[in-house]
Point group: C2
């Protein structure tokens, strides 16, 4: 592959001049510029990004470590992150942690070794030593969706409390009184917050959330299935199951179907995170929709602000309830958009 030296030789100038032409440095003669450009074209020369990064100490690359690529919420997030980054002149390298702290650490380490300019993380757990180190060390960092408490890093996320309150009101209006939740891992902020928001909302209606109605999931479909089976085995099963993410809702659907029961007649279902397929499931699933694209874009802007020396800001955007039929018919508040 042709290097800058080859171009210099071909154009009959020094490598310094070639570099100046390529970087649009003002003091280059028209003549030299033309010859260099011609040489570049004829050799099909492309600057070696590795060498450039070594010299300039910047890669114009962002790292994004997400909890699970197979989760449509995160793929959508990843997509918007890449889009905004590209618009700002950065590339993105995605690391998929699969909800495993060890894999998350692997990717953080690899990205740091590559000297990415900044790191976007949606942490899988409460923070490994490596993660805390990374946060404290020089690399600019921003948390997205989830965060690690007590670490001084900007956070871009959605606040679901209002939407959860709307959801519980909706469920209460439909006559449901025994409400259960499939929680996410307690080590994640979203895992905790969604349970807390649910409990608070229940209290507003004088309902409580007994331990047997809290199932411990891990944001994966299988755990949703297991927890739902346990709910269905209770002497007094819940009337509603609220899954803290879309994959666990999928698992819940599996479990209900395996028993030959029907949603919402036998048991109602709602989910955190809205995805396109929820419109066409049987029945369409009532869900809390996050402004995913906006979150991704805001996260990139915050990170690039840090990288380029501007003060970054944490951002919190509201989520909203999308009512469908999985909790029963509710003609009073049909705010469904589909």
């Amino acid at each position: 592959m042709a290097s800058i030296k080859d171009v210099a030789a071909e154009a009959g100038v020094s490598v310094a001049t070639v570099s100046r032409v390529l970087n649009e440095h003002p003091s280059v003669s028209e003549d030299a510029r033309a010859r260099v450009l011609a040489a570049v074209a004829s050799l099909g020369y492309r600057p070696n990004a590795v060498a450039r990064s070594l010299r300039t100490d910047q890669t114009r690359t962002l790292g994004l470590v997400i909890s699970d690529v197979l989760n449509p919420y995160f793929t959508e997030l990843a997509r918007s992150v890449e889009e905004e980054a590209r618009a700002l002149g950065y590339s993105v390298i995605i690391g998929n942690a699969d909800e495993r702290p060890d894999l998350q650490d692997h990717h953080v380490r690899t990205l740091l070794d590559r000297r990415i300019d900044g790191l976007l993380v949606s942490p899988t757990d409460g923070g490994s030593p490596l993660m805390l180190d990374a946060a404290r060390s020089g690399t600019p960092m921003v948390f997205v969706d989830r965060w690690i408490p007590g670490v001084d890093v900007p956070v871009v996320r959605a606040d679901g409390r209002g939407a959860v309150r709307d959801l519980v009101a909706h469920l209460h209006r439909l006559g449901h009184r025994r409400l259960a939740i499939i929680a996410g891992p307690a080590a994640t902020t979203t895992g905790q917050e969604r349970v807390a928001a649910f409990r608070e909302a229940l209290e507003e209606h004088g309902l409580d959330l007994p331990d047997r109605y809290i199932g411990q999931g891990d944001f994966q479909a299988d755990s949703g299935r297991r927890v739902t089976e346990r709910f269905l085995d209770l002497a007094e099963p819940p009337q509603v199951v609220f899954a803290a993410d879309n994959l666990m809702a999928l698992g819940a659907l599996d479990a209900v179907r395996a028993r030959g029961l029907r949603v919402p007649d036998d048991i109602a279902l709602a989910a955190f995170d809205d995805i396109r397929w929820f419109v066409h499931t049987d029945p369409p699933v009532t869900a809390i929709a996050q402004p995913t694209g906006e979150l991704g874009r805001a996260a990139v802007r915050a990170l690039v602000d840090r990288i380029e020396g501007r003060p970054p800001r944490s951002v919190t955007l509201p989520a909203r309830l999308v009512v469908r039929r999985s909790c029963g018919e509710d003609p009073a508040t049909n705010r469904s958009r589909s």
Copy 2:
């Protein structure tokens, strides 16, 4: 960030010795090794991958350019690619082309600039000049899922012909005679092949595929919706719509639902690519399942073979039919697994 020089100074040895310790070169004394390791630990030193890549001329990184991250088929593919690559000691950088040739070129160029060791591509079109160049030039390359005819690059893909034949037999048995297809872009091999396989299978049953029953889609949901609407507007609408990918099937579902029609009573639906949600849609969708994970792994192995100087092999794996209820009940051949 500490460099190898700092480590050398701290350990009281030369940088060469540090490098030797880190690369497990045999001739280093126990004493020196211990001192270097101690220095590495105390400084929290991590080798700079950028500098190493420049010197060794290898990045231990693979590029993966896929047509659309939001398509669950491709995210699953991406996941298995990353997994296998990691097992073989490589990282993966994913570029999402969003079915846009210009974006595809952008990512190929960026990846080449970064001097990735090899490139995995699922081409969005028939091959831009850049793509053809890349294929001819030195960088090892493998096509996955789709390929570009006439280019000498190994291909790892699924053969859907057998499964399409099974599908058409299934449809014929159910009494369907007017079958339509929502095709993918003619510029992609999968776009063409699926139509050809469908037509061949129809011919075996003495049916033909008139032009009005071929809708031109682009593998995105919106196009599935538009094409389906056009089918429904025909004087004699088809009895079955076969979507050439899962997103267009989603769009078809949207269109059918918007008219207040029902699947499969008013019109039947089948899709190429099976995804988890198809089990829970209304009704569950009959689909052709590709061995996605195996494809991803085989593609990585083929690419790494090329990179490491072994002869790479093209791989073709069979897809299979998964019957569900979206085409009507067929007690005779219930090979559904769900």
